[in-house]
Every structure is written in structure tokens, then in C-alpha cells.
Symmetry: C2
Subunit: 549 residues, 2 copies
């Protein structure tokens, strides 16, 4: 294609899309708007901007440079939001550490990322102390103190977070650089044992922010996100930038509330006290809140809650609607930044009856603007939007990760044929509404966290009493899904299979940090044999169907 390229006059500013630009307007237009952390801290956008600049220049002052990896271990806080802007602002990469992973997995991610600095909240000191000797790349340790207690640690902290900010300059000017510079890194666990690093560039995050503005802002109907909302994330900030909403909230100058470590009582208090209007979470968190003993004493009417990370169960959605919540689904992956679809209702849906609305709210939803979403058969051929054909969802989006960090094989597998493969199967109505029907990738999602079948099976099969093993996910009201292990005893005798002994055996791996405690199967069931496919592989489809019955 010989198109005509735009000519740039030498003096023109060829505007690179950088995260710093999301801060251009709101600290001026909404200078007195608030950012709140739990009940402990409250400040303005004006102060926020000054602190972001202090953070970036403070990191520069202690020797951090563009291109360095900076890991953060913290609960959802104003400080985390400062890191979202300050760390990429200086050209470094923000590594948002998933603190729910096992210790061994956290160590793996810190080593794999080759972090140069680690900013760590005091609650995660035991974790960091256990692994620090194995992290030769880390040059600077920064402590986030929240309590007043005396902290003695073997970690050679360079500075406390507030001291670091005091070192910085609130008039620091963020540099310009290539918009394809990496801004963030986070790890996702999936089909194999080792977490995979997902990278996003400044360009991708800015485009995702604009995409969210279009998808949640400019669409008519209910559930929208606007500049007069009060925002509180209930998806951890280490999970793909809390779905990117903190970037949008900051660009729009929205009041933001960060709940720290999730505690239903504190969350409900903040919801009421700060008049929160917009949140997002996985079904498990919503369920936890709705099951709070005080739920009937508070008024959550009008609270907009986007549910993602897993399918929104109809019962949960109904319970939420009964309480006056405006709840609906959205869909995306860590690899897609994550926005792919939203199940916002349109005018016709809103005119229809409650049952119809409920049906729409729990759908996977419609592709967001600029998202090219298709379903493909197992030969990667596109399938029609006819409400019947089911296939794997594949995607292209301006904000889709272009591969995994230092993992070429999985990167190519993710993008085979030029489309990002989600591992989820769906059928699509002629009007473009997606409904996920099945999961293709061999993982279990429990409370919003991934567990790998393969890893769990490998560990169970190490026990001498086990001949064969198959782990499947079974639906669970509270967690979405829980792992169930089916084993064929080595002795061949079901009746005396030592299930409790195998559980204790697995517990060791949890204690050693090899797997997270979420991964521990609730039940280990001995069976005569496992169904096989024609080529002799364990047929999980048949197992899942049998379990349903």
C-alpha cells in the first residue's frame, strides 16, 4: 500500500501518547477534588499531582532510571495510584506484584522481571524477607509504613515511601519518550506452572483509557462512568491496573476512594460514607459484600457495579438488583488490558421487563469501540454471529498485549493467526452480543484467581498412592469455581484410598509457597478409572458432564 504519509514540520510536536498526559487537565480543572484512602488519608488532586511528581523525581534521586523495573507490593491505596503515574512517568516500568500468588510464584515473578527496585507495604515484609536473598537484581528497597509499630527487618531498606517523596521535587517535569515504551508489567497464571508477564506500553494504556471513556462514558443507558461519579475499585490494583479504571477516573477528575486490604465492613462503611457510585469486582467479592450481616441496614441503591473476571451468576445479579444495585457484566483478560466487552443495557432493554434486563446484564456483552472480536472454530476459521455457532473468542484491540515478557513460545501461541486467543468459547447473537459458553484453556478460576490444572495434577501425581489424576473445575456459589481432583488409586482399590493423606501432602506445597492456598482442592475423589478420548487422553469434557449429573 503506497499511502501518503503525513509530513511533520520540524518544529511540530508529534504528540506521543504518554501516561503523563492523562494528568494534563484534572489537576487544574478539579484541583480540589478528593482522593481518599480508607479512613486514614484524604487529599486533593492538586496534592496528588505534586506527590506523583515527587515520587518520580524521588526515584530518580536515589538512582532509578528510565527502563528500570519497579515492583510494588501494596493493597489498594492512594500510593498505588501515585505509582501508576509516577513510575511510568519517569520512563521506568511499574511491576504490579500479585500478592495473592504463592511465595514461590512471587519470587519467580520478581526474578523474571529483574526488578531494580521494590516498593513494599509493611504487611508483606515476611514475604519479602523470605525471598530477598534470591533477588540480586534489586538495588533499592522502599518501605511503605502504615502502622506506628516498630519495624525491624532484614531487608536493607533505602528509604521509607514518604521520605522518598520528601526527596523529590513537586515541580518535576515528566520527560517525553517513545509511546511504545513499556509502562507496566503484571503476571498472570494460566495453563502452565509459571506465571506469564503481561506488558503494556504508554500508548496502549492511554488508548485503553480513551476506550473506557467511550465504552462506559459515551454510551447511553444505565451503569455509565462519568466525571461526577465517585469511584472505588474492588478489583485489586495489581490485577491489570484495576481494569484501567483508575487511569480513566484520574483523567476525568473523579473522586476516588481506595479501600486498602479488602474487608467487607470497611468497604461497606466507605461506600456509604464517601457516597461511592461506581465500582467493579469479581463475583466473589460482590457475593461477600451482599452476604455481609449488615447488608440490610445500609442503602446501596444506585451503586453501579461492573462484574468481570468471571461470569456473573444470575442469582447474584438478582440479589444485587433487589438491593437497588445497578449491576452488569464486562469481559476481558489480563492480556487485553482488559476491556473487550460490556453488557450495558440499551434503551430497548431498559424499556423491557426485569427478567429480560437480568438476562442482558449477565451476558458477556457487546464489543467495545475499536475492539475487533470474533469467534473461531478449531481450525481458526471465523464463525458467524448467528446465536448458534460456538467458537473460541479471538480479539484485536489497540490495547491488546503484543506478547508475554521473555516468553516467545507462549506469545506466539497467544497470537497464532494474528488474533489474540482468549481461551474462552462463546456464541454470538446477530446483534453482536457475546455469551461465553465454555472455557477452552485448562484453568480454574476461583475468586478471580487462576489455578492451573496441569500444575495441580503434576503435584498430586507425585504422591505414591496415585496412579492417575484429573483435576476439573466445579461450579461454586461463593468462589465461582473450585478444583476437584479425581484419582485412580495405585492399588486399584477405591475404598481405602488415603485422600486425607494426599491433602496433607499438597498442604506442604502451599506452606512452601509452590502453590497458593486457593489451589488446594476441597475434595479428592477416588475413582475406578478416568474416561479417555480415542487417542488415550483423559477426556475432561466427559468428566465435567458426569459431575454435572
Amino acid at each position: 500500500m503506497k499511502t501518503r504519509l503525513i509530513e511533520k514540520t520540524p518544529s511540530a510536536y508529534d504528540y506521543p501518547l504518554l501516561i503523563k498526559q492523562l494528568l494534563l487537565t484534572s489537576p487544574v480543572h478539579q484541583a480540589d477534588q478528593e482522593i481518599v484512602h480508607r479512613e486514614s488519608r484524604r487529599y486533593t488532586y492538586r496534592q496528588f499531582q505534586a506527590r506523583v511528581k515527587r515520587l518520580a523525581s524521588g526515584l530518580r534521586a536515589i538512582g532509578l532510571e528510565a527502563g528500570d523495573m519497579v515492583a510494588v507490593l501494596d493493597w489498594d491505596s492512594h500510593r498505588y495510584l501515585e505509582c501508576y503515574f509516577g513510575v511510568p512517568g519517569l520512563g521506568a516500568v511499574l511491576h504490579t506484584v500479585n500478592v495473592r500468588l504463592s511465595q514461590e510464584q512471587v519470587l519467580y515473578t520478581l526474578r523474571h522481571a529483574e526488578d531494580a527496585a521494590v516498593i513494599v507495604h509493611e504487611e508483606f515484609l515476611p514475604l519479602v524477607e523470605a525471598v530477598q536473598s534470591k533477588l540480586p537484581s534489586v538495588k533499592k528497597w522502599i518501605l511503605i509504613r502504615e502502622s506506628d509499630r516498630d519495624i525491624k527487618s532484614s531487608v536493607p531498606f533505602h528509604a521509607e515511601y514518604e521520605e522518598l517523596l520528601a526527596l523529590g521535587d513537586e515541580d518535576y517535569s515528566f520527560p517525553d519518550f517513545d509511546e511504545n515504551s513499556q509502562a507496566t508489567l503484571s503476571y498472570t497464571t494460566g495453563t502452565t506452572g509459571e506465571p506469564k508477564g503481561v506488558c503494556f506500553s504508554h500508548r496502549q494504556i492511554v488508548l485503553h483509557t480513551l476506550g473506557l471513556a467511550a465504552a462506559f462514558g459515551a454510551m447511553a443507558g444505565q451503569g455509565r462512568f462519568r466525571s461526577d461519579d465517585v469511584y472505588m475499585p474492588l478489583t485489586p490494583m495489581f490485577h491489570v491496573h484495576a481494569w484501567g479504571l483508575p487511569f480513566l477516573a484520574t483523567m476525568l477528575g473523579v473522586k476516588q476512594v481506595y479501600p486498602g486490604r479488602y474487608d467487607p465492613e470497611i468497604i461497606l462503611n466507605l461506600l456509604i460514607k464517601e457516597k461511592v457510585t461506581f465500582s467493579h469486582c469479581v463475583p466473589t467479592v460482590l457475593s461477600l459484600l451482599l452476604n455481609s450481616p449488615v447488608i440490610n441496614e445500609v442503602n446501596l441503591s444506585g451503586w453501579k457495579v461492573v462484574v468481570g473476571g468471571d461470569a456473573l451468576p444470575r442469582g447474584l445479579a438478582k440479589a444485587a438488583l433487589d438491593l437497588g444495585l445497578d449491576v452488569y457484566s464486562a469481559y476481558g483478560l489480563s492480556e487485553t488490558c482488559p476491556l473487550l466487552t460490556t453488557a450495558l443495557l440499551n434503551r430497548e432493554d431498559l424499556d423491557a421487563d426485569r427478567e429480560h434486563q437480568l438476562d442482558r446484564r449477565i451476558k458477556t456483552g457487546l464489543a467495545a469501540p475499536l475492539v475487533d472480536l470474533q469467534i473461531r472454530d478449531n481450525l481458526d476459521r471465523p464463525l458467524p454471529y448467528d446465536g448458534r455457532c460456538c467458537g473460541e473468542i479471538v480479539a484485536r484491540a489497540p490495547w491488546a498485549a503484543l506478547g508475554y515478557h521473555k516468553n516467545q513460545i507462549q506469545s506466539e501461541d497467544l497470537w497464532r493467526g494474528g488474533y489474540l486467543h482468549t481461551g474462552d468459547a462463546a456464541c454470538v447473537e446477530s446483534g453482536g452480543c457475546f455469551q461465553i459458553t465454555d472455557r477452552i484453556k485448562p484453568v480454574i478460576k476461583t475468586g478471580g484467581e487462576w489455578i492451573s490444572f496441569l500444575e495441580l495434577e503434576a503435584l498430586i501425581s507425585r504422591h505414591p498412592a496415585v496412579a492417575e489424576v484429573a483435576v476439573v473445575g466445579v461450579p461454586d456459589e461463593k468462589w465461582g469455581e473450585r478444583p476437584l481432583a479425581l484419582v485412580v488409586p495405585a492399588t486399584g482399590r477405591i475404598e481405602d484410598f488415603p485422600a486425607e493423606e494426599v491433602k496433607s501432602f499438597l498442604l506442604k506445597f502451599v506452606e512452601e509457597g509452590v502453590i497458593s492456598k486457593y489451589a488446594l482442592p476441597d475434595r479428592i475423589l477416588a475413582v475406578d478409572h478416568l474416561p479417555k478420548t480415542s487417542v488415550g487422553k483423559i477426556n475432561k469434557k466427559v468428566i465435567r458432564e458426569k459431575i454435572k449429573v
Copy 2:
């Protein structure tokens, strides 16, 4: 800066921002949504998409290629919207011809653009016939027929527009190419006699569309643009893509109404019949509508009208509010695509009294997200936002034109010091609200069209009765501003200066197409002398002040 660049796995789709992607979702999600042209045509988004693809492939079929310039001369129509997507979609450049320019200026722009094809509405046949022999670059002429009358023309038309579409393929697949490929070209008249070509890339138009979604969609308050609006532009589509709103409307799947040639009666009919909720125009057009004899017989309550292109007069804004319109200002230039600011009211403004609201609505407004807007003194030093300092507005935005087409000197002047110079002076409140106070560039804006002082002065001074001349803009209720010429007679005698003769002399230039009829001064005033600055230049500031008194 040694940042870490994102690594792309070979199979990943490195999503270029292309106009075709604005069509990804709405033709599926809003397949039956309507696009309306006057009272003559009405079709669905599904049909729209098919016609856009037919247009692109039809142009390919008759030999047009990526990189070719394709000029369009049409009133606001569904066809123009098809050209917005179809022409850039194939990699060609859409040249939107300003049909309000003089014939000579239109000829200049067609020659300067080196158009390969011209798509022309039958109403502009006389214009095209007069200039076609001077356009060697044009290989293909396409006629847009609207009436049933027999058309005989000296122009060698290759096809009629609907025939061209019939040649095309509705399953045509738009190619991928560099996002910095030029998508559009339009000409702006300004401080010098020759129109300047403003170019926008695919990337810039997609980013501008997202910027509009954030600025008009995600902001709370009144006047917003949403997917359930009914949109009718009242800014010509040849003026910087009707401010880019047709791209946003199409991305969101909004019902769109195109009014053809502006006729107050037809516009008012369409407003009522199609239930239009969102429009934009220059003050002159709004004034024209509000002065319609039937204005009190129709109900325009709730109609959102963004007024730009010139300051929104308080009286006009008040009259509009009295009729129930939701009217407010926005600001931008042809060179800025155009979004720079909007004067949307926030929650506090909406709680305040009507007079306060009126004051806010007519302000220049707040910078849109991602827009870096400053004021500079005459040494190009930034001035504070203190409500007192006044300086020239300079801008950076992801959608600001990177220079003029084949005009390096003016391009560099526009971007001197790395900021785009608007030629407008403003002061800025501490909260970031801009108020334009003066115009720095030597132009008059009348009915939304620019007139150059310099050109007019040069023509007037050619008359033998004129010794010295100064043209200034004087405020005009209907047109915003009108040119007034002050002349010092060659004889030195004011009393017998042949003002009417000079007017007739100028009329010749209008007839010859050198200047547009808008440029003709209503009054030519003989004066003893013209005030001069210390260096002997005519002091227009003094003249303007004297005229006010």
C-alpha cells in the same frame, strides 16, 4: 531516554489506528439505526456500511489508488459521510472542498491538492465547468445527481455516484496501512491570500474521535453527546469534518440526520420530525434559525447545540436558553481537528443561577482531555492561569495538524517553539477556564468564514483614488464580524471620495472569483489619516478602539 520498548511477538497484530476501525461495532450493534438525508433518503447502518465498502471498491475499480487525492464538492449528506469513511478507507485522501470560497480560491485548492478525482454535486457544476480545463491532475470526474433534470455538461464524467457504488463490492475488505497515512485535506483561508491545506492522518482522526467521546461523552453535566442522541451537524461537512462529530456519531451508532444545503425551514422541519437532540454550528447559523418566523411555533426544548467557530454572543445564548435550548461554546481551529475546549457546565454551575450559567456557557471553556493548552506572551513565555494575564493561546494535542500541505514557511510559523499558535489571545482562570479576549491574527471571521485583511487591503489599494487603506473587523449581530475599510483618499479630500466606485471595483474581483462575496466590505469610510504605531505601521488596535466609541 533509554526506556524499554515493548517487544511485539511476530504474529501479534500491532493495531494501527485507522478510520475503518470506527466502523467495527456500530453496523453490528446498531444495524437498524438510521441515517437520514433531508426528506429524500433514509437507510440503516447496515446499508451504510455496505455503501461505504461499495464506494471504496468502486473507486478502486475505476483506477483510484492509495495515496490519490479525491476531492468532494457536496452539501451535507449521507454521501459525504460515505466519503468520510470510503475514501480514506482505501488509503486515498479525502479533500473536502470549501464550496464557499471564491471560484479562484477553489481552483487554487484543487490545483494545489493535485486531486486525482473529483466527486461533485450537480449544484456545483457551473463552478467545476469554469475551472476544469485548468486541472490537469484530475483523471476521474464523478457526478452526484440529486434532481431528475437532464444534465448536460462539458465535464467528462466517468460515472454517476450511484453507478460507481453499483460497480463496487459490499464485502470489500479495507486494507491495513500505516496509521500516519494522510486521511483528509481541507483548506483554510487566513492571514495571507492563498488558502492553506490542513492535513490529518488516520491516527489523528481516530484519536480525535476518542477525545470527543471523552470530552462530550464521559463528562457529567448538561449538553453531552451519547449513543442515544439524534445528531444533525449544522457546520458544513467541508469544515474540518463537521468538527469530527460524524466520526463519533458513527462509532457510537447514533441516528444521524444530514440537512443538505442549509435552509432554515428544512432544518427546523428536520429538527422536529427526526427528533434531533444534538447539533453544532457557528453563531450566525443559530441566529438565523432563532430569527425564523416559525420559531415560536416549534418546540426546540432540550436541543443541545454546541456553538463554535466564533464567540457565542451573550444575547444569542440567552435567546436560545429562553427557547429551552441547551447551548454552550466550544473552541478549536481547522488546524486542531478542531477540539481544544468545551464550555460544558459542571455540577456547581448547574446548581448556580441562570445568569452564572449564561456566563459559563459563553466562555471559551476548559481544555479537553489530552489537550495541553497554554497562554504565551509575545516572547513565547508561558503565562500563569491567574484570570488577569492575557496571551496567545498555544496548543499541543494528539490531533493537532503537523503542518500545512506543501507550505513549509507557514508550517514552521504555526509551530514555532514546539507549540501550535492559534492566533487568539485569552486569559485563563485559576480553574483552567479560558476566555478569548482578542484575535492576534489579521483576519475577520464572518458567518464562520475567514477573510484576510491583507488580501482585501491589497485589492482596495489598487484603486487610484486610494492612498492608504486599513481593513478592520467590526462586530455584527448576524455575521459575528464584518469587514470595514478605512481609506485615506489620494486627493486628500474626504468629502468627494468615490466610495461607491471603489465598491464596484471590488465587485469585479468577486465576479472573477478572486475573493468571495462574503469579503466585500459593507462600508468604505474615507478618513483624514490612519493612526500609526511608533515604527510607522498602521495601528489597528487604535482604529478598533475608536470604532467601538
